[in-house]
Amino acid sequence: MRYRITHTTSYKYTGLVGHSYNEARLLPRECQHQHLISARLEITPKESDFRVREDFFGNKIAYFTITEPHNTFAITAISEVEVLGGTWQLGLSSNISWEDVKEILLRDKHIEVLDARQYTLDSPYIKTSLELAAYAQPSFTPGRPLFEAVNDLMQRIHAEFTFDSEFTTLSTPVQTVLEHRRGVCQDFAHVAIGCIRSYGLAARYVSGYIETLPPPGKEKLVGSDASHAWFSVYLPDVGWMDFDPTNNQIPGDQHIIVAWGRGYGDITPLKGVVFGGENHVLEVSVDVARLTS
């Protein structure tokens, strides 16, 4: 499936910004089941010192500065992506028990396993805890295949947590989300990752987009989409497999990956330091359009 994604972030400042330094992780990465056709950034005012590199996790980062004094700043990422193989993940199955996966992660020296091992550890936004382990326990019964355990965990999070965009902010701890069982896609992904890591397993955070379909009979509104987040688990026999607890589904051809890392903190879509500016109003719009050709 082919998509064109238009993702605009804009800031309106009450004061003048003298200059700013920025890092954008908005360019989708090329990965096994996703082919990047084209991607570009449009920045106003005109950026300077623009450079794209890969970060520690292999994501694309655009670094740029703005030296022209400004009151508004906007960055639009326009990407065309081919999501390969349709519902490729659904055809796979993995039968290794979660205990065995844990052992493999500790002992196996294969380069892919070694890479996965870093995602078993605590990260700045996600600390494993007894509470997270306790929540996940009904899913992680002895001898259960990891795939099943995670699938069950995803379903439980979907069923037991309420989607509430008012309740959390970017800095709400996982602990609070777990206690109140409320949050947004990012929080659900963090909770799931924390649960899985509490069992010594590897889970990472994925950011991207999801295609949304309009209600039957209505036309889709441009810009009504949002950026999305889910998680991925390492299964030694099939590799990394994605799970979307917000939508209770295993991502197929409607999920577009931008970046992954240990948690949100590793792959903040847009980071920056501005000099001046005082207060600001932020606006974000995302449009995921299916391309027919």
Binding site: G18, D55, F56, L114, R117, G272
Partner: protein
């Protein structure tokens, strides 16, 4: 006494290994000459020399600032004059061990931020590195040019139970101590000159030479004479003294984060003469605080975008960001394996035995022996520090055990090394105390250079433990005895001199700003003290309470005091007639109340504060004066009875101190940009004070008899009484007074004199004379100068029907405006400050 017998008072603790005495109680040969010399001096004399050394350090302003101390005050550096003696033979072993270890750590650093073979081959456990807060993923694949990634290295050594020197911890982030070591050497060799000369102690200068050369070597290519700066967190940092000291010694500009800016992929110093490209940064800021864009967003100590510049190889940072990973004590047990892997060698220096709890067997061992070990977190975050197991209660041990169990990979247990002892001077004679030694290495092109000796520290009391770090320890010099005389050494001062050349223009704007304000505050303090003192004298010495002339002139002066010091409401408030009748308490507050903005104490505090932030620019003598000022401020004055008399005495002393400061800065500072801004600040402030004083007191016409009294006081306040009497007569007359204070270019306190100085100074400012036309500053001073030149005294004396001297008032008002405009113009042109950064 036989030559090798121990001093009588020197009693060793049971089981302690002593550096000086062997197991038979004989003085070891490399100590004998020193010990004989010190014995000959006698313990009373040694105690005197100890005090002398402390005084010397104190006078040099050597301090160590303890974080979290109330007000972050500076503690004098503690020094014991008995050096730790190291034989040439043992040193060659230590040196070889340090060279090997520095090389090894360098290879580990290059690997961890490069191919990471070590974790892939399990020579370093994955969890030990990836769990460590110092492993900065943003720094991955960044490399300095050349072989050396670890540029500066320090190791804390102590003698272990096998009587060999062991490494207790590695310092690889921003190692401190080289400057203190140098100061210690200066102090000890000064108080024991003969013993030092006879000892054939190896000199420290070569180390700094190599360090400078090594820093030059890592500069990005095509930087012809690289600009090297020293980045400090600022005056509140615990080792700020050392930052300033090293910067001055090596001739590198001392900068704070906001003195630097990133533009077009390079780092620039915001200097007086515009942006200067920076090639090398010695950082004394912890790496996570260095770049709010990519590292800690809440840091105010860093430079936004710094990491990206380093990534492109356009600036070299020593040590590189991310090098804190090597301070992970969990690496120590894996060093032998890595040494074999990388070098095919065994370790020449042992580490203290260390067990990383990330491995099940090791964790079990640590948990079972918790009360015998030192427990260290692998990452030194805030609120985590090493603990000695045997000092913990059962409850604390249980709590610690639980913490280790929950996250074993984050802890190590380390053998509690029983350090050796070495002699210290006490009033009762020599006493053995536990010692350790911090050694330093710096990478030069062809390898590491180790400082011969280093910074030694000893426990504050006999029998006390010593843990790597600080906690009240007393420092010592360390003498490495050379087996043959060193043929050639350069004095340390030469390095600084050669490096300084050309850096004059690299004076950071912030430093210029601060030094300008030192000048202004010092002058404002002096002027305020003089006026206050004149007022107190009038009140105290000659109170004619029923003389209406006296009352009127006193009230006029009191209002002047309030105006000048800005201690509103004070005597300015209309309702304070009672205050005007008995002004003592208000005057005392204006002098002593530090919380009151504009008070004398407040102004002096500002002199010290701004002075301290440009610590590297002052000579030792000037610094001593600033230190004096600081010390007096910290000693509250007991006024009691005769309060005004005591106040007067205090003010006399303060005037002397301030005069010493201005005298030294006139005589001892080179006439560079630093001095220029200091003197501009001073002249401008003096001009403004004189104008305000005249305007406050003389714009309104009083009876002649009142004015005579006012003139007398103002002459007193400006230290011009004698001068007036010599030139004029003993009768106080306004025109003569105005001539002396306004027009006399030969009177260093006159307005004409200040303006002449300022006119000259502004023509030397960095951007003056660049364009064909005059600069703003020059135009302002031209106008002020010609106003003074055109003054007609008779016109100024004219009094209006409302009893106002309008011409005088207008003239002074315009001159005041021009002075203010000059200050604004200089601030806008030279002290550019960015607004503070905030996250997007």
């Amino acid at each position: 006494m036989t030559p090798n017998a121990a001093p009588n008072s020197y009693l060793l603790g049971v089981g302690d290994y002593d550096e000086m005495l062997d197991s038979q109680g004989q003085v070891r040969s490399h100590w004998s000459s020193l010990m004989q010399g010190m014995e000959k001096l006698g313990s009373a004399e040694m105690e005197l020399r100890r005090k002398e050394a402390l005084k010397l350090l104190y006078e040099n302003g050597v301090t160590y600032n303890v974080y979290g101390d109330s007000g972050g005050s500076n503690h004098p550096w503690q020094l014991d004059p008995v050096p730790l003696m190291i034989s040439g033979q043992e040193w060659s072993h230590i040196e070889a061990g340090l060279l090997q270890r520095a090389e090894l750590l360098n290879m580990i650093l290059a690997d961890l931020y490069g191919p990471r073979e070590l974790t892939k081959k399990n020579l370093l456990p994955h969890e030990l590195i990836y769990n460590h807060g110092g492993f900065l993923r943003a720094c991955d694949q960044i490399k300095l040019i050349g072989h050396h990634q670890l540029v500066l290295y320090a190791a804390d050594l102590a003698r272990g139970p096998d009587q060999k020197m062991w490494v207790v911890s590695d310092r690889t982030q921003a190692p401190s101590g080289t400057g203190y070591a140098l100061e210690n050497r200066v102090a000890v060799s000064r108080v024991m000159p003969n013993l030092f000369r006879k000892s054939q102690t190896r000199r420290l200068a070569n180390f700094f030479k190599s360090m400078h050369s090594g820093l030059t070597a890592i500069a990005p290519p095509n930087a012809e004479s690289p600009l090297i700066v020293l980045l400090t967190p600022g005056p509140f940092n615990e080792t700020y003294f050392e930052h300033a000291y090293l910067a001055a010694f090596l001739g590198y500009p001392l900068v704070q984060g906001d003195d630097l800016t990133v533009r077009d992929g390079y780092v620039w110093l915001k200097s007086l003469t515009g942006l200067k490209r920076v090639d090398v940064i010695i950082r004394r800021v912890d790496d996570t605080y260095c770049d709010p864009l990519e590292l800690r967003a809440d840091s105010r100590l860093g430079v936004t975008g710094l990491l990206e510049v380093a990534r492109r190889g356009n600036v070299a940072i020593a040590n590189p960001l991310g090098s804190g990973i090597l301070e992970n004590p969990g690496i120590q047990p894996f060093l032998p394996g890595i040494a074999k892997h990388f070098l095919g060698e065994t370790l020449k220096l042992q580490s203290a035995a260390t067990w990383w709890c990330g491995q099940p067997l090791e964790m079990d061992y640590v948990l079972a022996n918790l009360d015998k070990l030192v427990i260290k977190p692998i990452y030194r975050a805030h609120g985590t520090s090493p603990v000695l197991g045997h000092l913990l209660s059962q409850a604390q041990l249980a709590e610690l055990r639980e913490r280790i169990r929950t996250n074993p990979a984050l802890y190590v247990g380390q053998e509690h090394v029983s350090f050796s002892t070495a002699p210290c001077v006490t009033p009762q004679g020599f006493e053995p105390r536990k010692v350790m030694l911090r050694c330093f290495a710096a990478a030069d092109r062809n390898g590491y250079e180790v400082m011969p000796g280093g910074l030694s520290s000893s426990a504050p009391e006999k029998g006390d433990m010593l843990i790597s770090g600080r906690a009240g320890s007393i420092s010592k010099d360390a003498w490495v005895i050379s087996t043959e005389p060193e043929l050639k050494y350069e004095t340390a001062r030469n390095i600084g001199a050669s490096a300084t050349r050309g850096n004059e223009h690299a004076l950071p704007s912030r430093a210029a700003d601060n030094i300008y304000w030192v000048g202004r505050y010092a002058e404002r303090a002096e002027g305020s003290i003089r006026l206050l003192r004149a007022t107190v004298r009038k009140l105290y010495i000659n109170p004619h309470n029923n003389d209406p002339d006296y009352d009127e002139s006193l009230q006029c002066l009191l209002r002047g005091v309030a105006n000048l010091t800005g201690t509103w409401p004070g005597f300015l408030d209309e309702d304070h007639s009672a205050l005007l009748k008995s002004p003592e308490s208000e005057l005392i507050a204006a002098a002593l109340d530090e919380q009151r903005s504009g008070s004398i104490a407040n102004l002096l505090r500002n002199v010290v504060r701004t002075g301290y932030s440009v610590r590297d620019l002052w000579s030792t003598d000037i610094w001593r004066v600033l230190d004096d000022m600081d010390e007096h401020l910290d000693q509250p004055l007991q006024l009691g009875e005769n309060a005004l008399w005591k106040l007067q005495e205090l003010m006399d002393r303060q005037i002397t101190t301030l005069s010493a400061f201005s005298g030294l800065s006139m005589e001892n500072m080179t006439r560079g940009n630093g001095w220029l801004f200091l003197d501009i600040g001073r002249r401008l402030e003096r001009a403004m004070l004189t104008i305000s004083m005249l305007r406050n007191v003389m714009s309104v016409h009083h009876r002649d008899s009142v004015e005579a009294q006012l003139i007398e006081s103002l002459l007193d306040a400006s230290d011009n009484t004698i001068c007036y009497r010599q030139h004029y007569r003993s009768y106080f007359e306004l025109s003569a007074f105005l001539e002396l204070l306004l027009l006399d270019v030969n009177n260093p306190r006159s307005l004409a004199f200040q303006i002449a100085c300022l006119k000259n100074h502004v023509s030397k400012l960095p951007s003056a004379g660049k364009a064909k036309r005059f600069s703003t500053e020059e135009r302002l001073m031209l106008e002020a100068g010609s106003m003074i030149d055109l003054i007609n005294l008779n016109d100024l004396m004219v009094v209006s029907e409302e009893d106002i001297r309008e011409n005088l008032d207008q003239l002074l008002s315009r001159l005041y405006y021009l002075m203010n405009a000059l200050s604004d113009a200089i601030t806008a042109e030279y002290f550019r400050h960015d607004s503070s950064p905030q996250p997007l």
